[in-house]
């Protein structure tokens, strides 16, 4: 029963991690489709600050080229994005740098660019223009499919964990029957069986999630041998770890509740005949 639950937890965690991976791939796609970033230099008092930022960006590993954004270029970009005519003379003084990114750069580049600037004592925001509407729609579909797929797999695995917990309760039927005969309450007898299953679910969840985490990292390094742990950390966010953290907790809850309900039914059968 434990190994069934552990496998189900592994599958659920792997599906969750897979969903997050699909999300990242979609994000990278959107990023690559845009191909450029705009850096807004904060509190730049003079052109010298802007020049320092431009040099720092040009030296950053993710950047193909960096140049200050002229009013003409800004007006053209705005016209592309909004479709409205913009006169360069109507724009305020700009403290923006247009950055061409190297191909294959991931969304973690945003944070790396900001860090490259802050290392030079320059406070700046990195702005990523969105992809074209069609690309955006496709990306949204990919993200939804990934999330729905992960949720579907997780639901099936939860059902398997629930069945495994029922099997555990069935194996404890002698205990439940004896407890009913000897005058224990239903809550106590089924609660003890539920707690045992919940503990089992927690350990199975931890094991399954750890295995899924190791498999995900291993798979990533196999597909991208040039990947480094440091680089990986800049591309991951807290939510990427959610499947690995949620699976043990949910497995424990589902197993505990399933076993408790099953033991409660056994208790009722044993306690009251006729």
């Amino acid at each position: 029963m434990f190994w069934t639950m552990a496998f189900a937890c592994f599958a659920a965690a792997a599906a969750g991690v897979g969903g997050r991976a699909a999300h990242h791939i979609a994000e990278r796609w959107a990023f690559e489709a845009a191909g450029l970033a705009v850096v807004r230099v904060l509190a730049a008092d003079n052109l010298a600050d802007l020049g320092a930022a431009e040099r720092a960006l040009a030296a950053a590993p993710d950047v193909a080229a960096a140049r200050s954004l002229t009013a003409e270029r800004a007006a053209a970009l705005l016209q592309d994005q909004t479709g409205a005519m913009v006169s360069p003379g109507d724009l305020p003084p700009l403290r923006l740098i247009e950055v061409d990114l190297k191909p294959g750069i991931d969304p973690g580049a945003e944070r790396r660019l900001e860090r490259a600037l802050s290392d030079q004592g320059i406070a700046a925001d990195v702005l990523l223009p969105g992809p074209a509407p069609e690309t955006e729609r496709t990306i949204r579909i990919v993200r939804f499919a990934a999330t729905a797929g992960a949720a579907f797999v997780a639901a099936i695995m939860a059902a398997i964990i629930g069945l495994a917990a029922r099997a555990l309760a069935h194996r404890r039927r002698d205990y439940v029957t004896v407890m009913a005969d000897l005058g224990a309450t239903r809550a106590r007898a089924s609660g003890e069986v539920g707690q045992e299953a919940a503990r089992s679910g927690l350990w199975a969840g931890l094991l399954g999630a750890a295995a899924a985490g190791v498999a995900a990292v291993g798979g990533l390094f196999m597909m991208r041998p040039s990947e480094t742990v440091l680089h990986l950390m800049t591309t991951l966010s807290a939510i990427d770890f959610a499947p690995l953290l949620l699976v043990p907790a949910l497995a424990s809850l589902v197993a505990g509740a399933g076993a408790r309900a099953s033991a409660a039914r056994q208790f009722m059968r044993a306690a009251r005949l006729g």
Binding site: D174, Y175, T177, V178, M179, D181, L182, G183, A184, T185, R186, R188, A270, A271, R272, L273, G274
Partner: protein, 244 residues
């Protein structure tokens, strides 16, 4: 007959611990026990003799509060058995020791753990639990298999473990279904002696058996159960000294 007992005074010798008035009970569509009138007193042994399929197991289930009465009035340890909440039923069951013909145990637990379980359910956590259980097990001759999983015991050893467990929580009512079946004459003698001692300290002991001579030399009342109907045969005074 003495006055009716309440749970608080059920251990007073002579008080009624079980009173069935016109009780019927059964399973599904089948009625097994019909119009039963029966009594058992605190501090006395009550024998119910009957052939196979007479309804003895159903009477055991009725007395251990597992089989609800369908009609009549069943008062057990001062409570109306047909009007108990689940919590009340559970509390009352803790005061009833049952020795069934085929006792159920937690098979992978040791004999000691099984015998100590009623004390655990009753909330006893004091250091005296181990001593009390060890004493009981020694008395029924199970001290050598104390640490064995109960699943490995022989049928006779299981019966003795069931007896020890039934007596562990010092119940007010003991219901024993064929308590000496499968035991050697010496072991059977010791079991009957133990049950008789329990009645001396105030418990009502109800023994159901096919063997009429089990009651021959014992003090107490004798009833006959046949075809789901019961009738009293005779009644001794409680505490009469046994001849055996």
């Amino acid at each position: 007959m003495s006055q009716y007992a309440t749970p608080s005074d059920a251990d007073a010798a002579g008080a009624l611990v079980v009173r069935l008035e016109g009780v019927s009970a059964g399973y599904g569509q089948t009625t097994v026990l019909s119009n039963l009138h029966f009594e058992a007193e605190a501090g006395a042994m009550t024998f119910v003799v009957g052939p196979a399929a007479a309804g003895k197991s159903s009477l055991v289930n009725l007395l251990r509060l597992a089989l609800p009465p369908r009609g009549g009035r069943a008062e057990i340890l001062g409570a109306d058995a047909s009007r108990l909440s689940m919590a009340q039923r559970a509390r009352l069951k803790q005061r009833i020791g049952v020795i069934s013909e085929q006792p159920q145990f937690v098979e992978h637990w040791t004999t000691f753990e099984n015998v100590a379980l009623p004390m655990k359910i009753a909330g006893r956590k004091d250091s005296g639990v181990a001593d009390d259980v060890a004493e009981l097990m020694a008395y029924v001759g199970l001290n050598t298999v104390s640490d064995e999983p109960v699943g490995r015991l022989s049928a006779a050893e299981r019966r003795r473990a069931a007896i020890a467990r039934a007596l562990a929580a010092k119940p007010d009512l003991i219901v024993a279904d064929e308590p000496t079946a499968g035991l050697s004459p010496d072991a059977g003698f010791r079991v009957m002696r133990l049950l008789e001692e329990m009645s001396r300290v105030g418990a009502a002991v109800v023994i159901l058996t096919q063997s009429e001579h089990l009651a021959d030399d014992m003090p107490g009342a004798l009833w006959r159960l046949e075809h789901g109907r019961i009738e009293p045969l005779y009644q001794d005074e409680p505490y009469a000294e046994p001849n055996w």
